[in-house]
């Protein structure tokens, strides 16, 4: 005992006092499901790729993106971005421009020539894909990356399906589409064009395929019965858009009437304006609010001088193209009812844009298939009633968009891969949703959305140049940094800083944090002050 005066104990550190025993609630780091990811029909990990884009690491961002979707440059142009509609930032100022950042990444990948990683090993299995549209290409990509051999057959002279033969050039330039298709083919995928599959069973057995994915789309324009003179010029919208890809552009005349209210009707009317029609009139039986076409497309069409007659149906067409229009009104249920009031409208061409049907003739004689409402019925794993034949895209019951099609392709590929190995694919359980209430929005900087440039109106009326421009690097970076990273730690160090007990251990860049439960008293400040809702409190087990 050689201690100073009045000292009987050695000096110790308070680290001997494990204050963690006070705790009744325990903080846990969690990953929650961001609403954008939850809303994406292609199942993209949007928050995940924005995380890399925020740091300016565009290649890593692109590589995370293409784990789910091999067509980001296409997506960044034609997707209706349900992600942005559900973005939590929309409740703060305006949604993150996810679609524009996606396009920037897609364009950057084309510009820099980034390529997909080749599969580590080959499975020796061979899969036939019928249809080189978004679903078929997406399935081919995923199956090839799983190591399977893939052959795509398509009846058309070029790949892309509705992306080429349905979506006008001013929304999707063809060099962009070509570049992204080529990158998929570079994985070793065989593409047979001008090859119609007339009977799928023959093709499957004759070609020695282990499985088939059908994605033929819906290319037959629906007809409606309209009494018409024999010389009346009535064509369907799909044919118009398809013939835009050929040498002979369709002759629509100076006055074009489009019948229907979907995106296809808008596409045809805008195409007609670019082909020189003085008047392009859309006739639709309900109101603007009820129109299935997307609001921004309607707006762009109106800017380009497309006229829309709401609450109108076409009753009759004369030989000279004079249309008889009946005014409608909406009843209490919102259905259009005839009013008995008529008016006349003249046209050189009437284009019907009333939806599309699927050509199911290749399925004749396949046992076990169920066809309903002109679409093929599939189980939740996208397999038809015939083992080994899967189907997706517009030919199965779904919302018919490119994004949904790409999502089907991924889902089918995962299920086909499991099926080829004699297993059943089980998706990982979804995390809890990171809704706005789980965030602490105080910490996010006030930053309004960056708007993309739009082509001037004169060029929109005379050319098929792309209407919507892209972001450059500086504003794409700004836009990516508007992401709130909902539900997923982005290493802001708040928990590490705000803990009064130093009970958060920082593990270093990219490694996130850990709780030191020896000292955590369970106050919950870290949970309250986590900007993105990536921590939760759970009762301590005693």
């Amino acid at each position: 005992m050689n201690k100073p005066f009045a000292i009987t104990l050695d000096v110790g550190s308070s680290l001997a006092n494990h204050t963690g025993s006070w705790r009744t609630l325990r903080p846990l780091y969690v990953d929650r499901l961001p609403p954008c990811n939850n809303a994406c029909p292609s199942g993209e990990n949007i928050q995940g790729w924005l995380f890399h884009a925020e740091a300016g690491d565009y290649e890593s961002a692109w590589r995370v993106l293409v784990q789910d979707n091999p067509l980001p440059a296409v997506m960044g142009r034609v997707c209706y971005h349900p992600c942005e509609n559900s973005c939590n930032r929309g409740q703060l100022d305006s949604a993150v421009g996810i679609n524009s950042v996606e396009r920037f990444l897609g364009d950057e990948a084309i510009r820099r020539g980034w390529r997909f990683d080749l599969p580590a090993q080959r499975s020796g299995k061979h899969v036939l894909i019928v249809g080189a549209g978004p679903s078929g290409l997406s399935a081919a990509y995923h199956l090839a990356r799983f190591g399977h051999q893939v052959t795509i057959c398509d009846a058309a002279p070029q790949a892309g399906g509705m992306m080429r033969f349905g979506i006008p050039k001013y929304r999707l330039p063809r060099d962009v589409l070509d570049a992204e298709v080529r990158r998929i083919l570079d994985l070793g995928v065989t593409l047979k064009l001008n090859t119609r599959v007339d009977n799928v069973l023959d093709a499957m057995q004759g070609g020695g395929f282990d499985a088939v994915f059908l994605a033929v789309g819906a290319h037959i324009g629906k007809r409606a019965y309209i009494p018409a003179g024999s010389a009346a010029r009535i064509i369907d919208a799909v044919s118009v858009l398809r013939s835009m890809e050929g040498e002979e552009k369709p002759m629509l005349g100076r006055r074009v009437v489009v019948y229907g209210g979907g995106n296809t009707a808008i596409d045809v009317a805008r195409t007609a304006r670019r082909l020189g029609a003085d008047e392009a009139v859309i006739v639709y039986r309900r109101t603007r609010e009820k129109m299935p076409a997307h609001e921004f497309e309607v707006e762009e069409a109106l800017q380009e001088g497309v006229l829309i007659k709401w609450l109108s149906t076409i009753k009759q067409v004369s030989d000279e193209g004079a249309l008889t229009i009946e005014k409608m009104r909406l009843d209490e249920q919102g259905f259009p009812q005839p009013t008995g009031e008529f008016e006349a409208l003249s046209s050189d061409t009437l284009v019907l844009a009333l939806g599309q049907d699927v050509d199911l003739s290749l399925l004749d004689g396949v046992p076990g298939l169920e066809i309903n409402n002109g679409t093929v019925q599939v189980s939740p794993n996208l397999m038809t009633g015939y083992p080994g034949i899967f189907a997706g895209g517009d030919m199965v019951p779904s919302e018919r968009t490119v994004t949904v099609g790409i999502g089907h392709g991924k889902k089918a590929a995962r299920n086909i891969d499991a099926w080829l190995r004699g297993e059943t694919y089980a998706a990982a359980p979804k995390h809890e949703l990171a809704n706005y209430e789980k965030l602490n929005p105080w910490y996010y900087d006030d930053a309004p959305k960056t708007l993309r440039p739009t082509l001037d109106i004169l060029r929109r009326l005379s050319t098929f140049e792309e209407v919507q421009g892209g972001l450059d690097e500086s504003n794409a970076l700004f836009e990516a940094r508007r992401c709130l990273s909902c539900g997923n730690c982005f290493e802001c160090d708040n928990c590490y800083g705000v803990c009064p007990d130093n009970a958060v251990i920082k593990l270093g860049p990219g490694k996130r944090f850990e709780f030191n439960y020896d000292y955590c008293k369970g106050c919950g400040i870290c949970v309250s002050e986590c900007p993105c809702g990536a921590i939760k409190m759970v009762p301590e087990e005693i």
């Binding site: 308070s14 996010y444 940094r481 802001c492 708040n494 705000v498 009064p500 009970a503």
Partner: protein
Amino acid sequence: MPFQPVKFYQTGTFTVGNRLLEPEVRSVQANMQRTNSLNSGHRACQGCGEALGARYAIDAAMNASNRQLIAANATGCLEVFSTPYPETSWQIPWLHSLFGNTAAVATGIAAAMRAKGRRDVRVIAQGGDGGTTDIGFGCLSGMFERNDDVLYICYDNEAYMNTGVQRSSATPPAARTATTMPVGPEPGNVFGQGKNLPQIAMAHNIPYVATATVADLHDLEYKVKKAIGIRGAKYIHIYVPCPLGWGAASHDTIKLARLVKESGLFPVYEAEHGVVTSVSRIRKRVPVEDYLRLQRRFAHLFGKVPAVATIARIQAMADQNIRKFGLLEEGTHS
């Protein structure tokens, strides 16, 4: 020049760190090598604002002084919860003074360092609002008046918490404590009394006076660093919520500090030689009610018959601060 926040990097400098910013503009607290001057294992209550504020301030001071720092600490919560014999949570040279003489002890340390020619060593005196505004006020005023080379930090939790929530001269009007009127027409602390210590410090014309809260770490660290770089008497008044004494949820500590500033009740500013040189403006103004409602010490204002007149008087105090210090951004309205 006040603290300049960095904007447009997702969270800018609102968060403790930010992987998108250069390391030098991140806070000291974001650093894996921070001193942790007040280490784990201390006996402060769950969610203690004072423990947090003390680590924020002393880590920043350690960083700014190149770890050449000595602190004197008044009696109070901070001293009691950090050093129960024979343990200590402090990872710095640290002395416990009496309740009332911290400023004088720090003055002595500064004199000793000067005598030894250790101009690199910086001296801090720290205490709670009781030890600062009441019991240690005479020594503090003397330290100011002599312009001793000491940074005095007051952690203001608005009452004597260690001994059981007795009123101090920093207790706000209407707040209930163990020694204010428990019942009657106007329970809680009276209006029109108490001391505004940052303003009193400014009246001494000392080189630097600042206020801060635990809700704005970058601003707090900026002020501590600035004060450490100034020779002479400095005073920083840090607002630190007390979950136990205020009857607030332990997870609301930082939220309360944010609301008190955003309501205007606690103006955050700095002053040099008696003149206000910068104010932290209100970013998202809130009524005082948002702040008061989270605390049981004000629960009597929100009973079956809300004390509308009392709440209005508190709101008027906030409004007066907003006018006096110009707390709203130019062109913004309530």
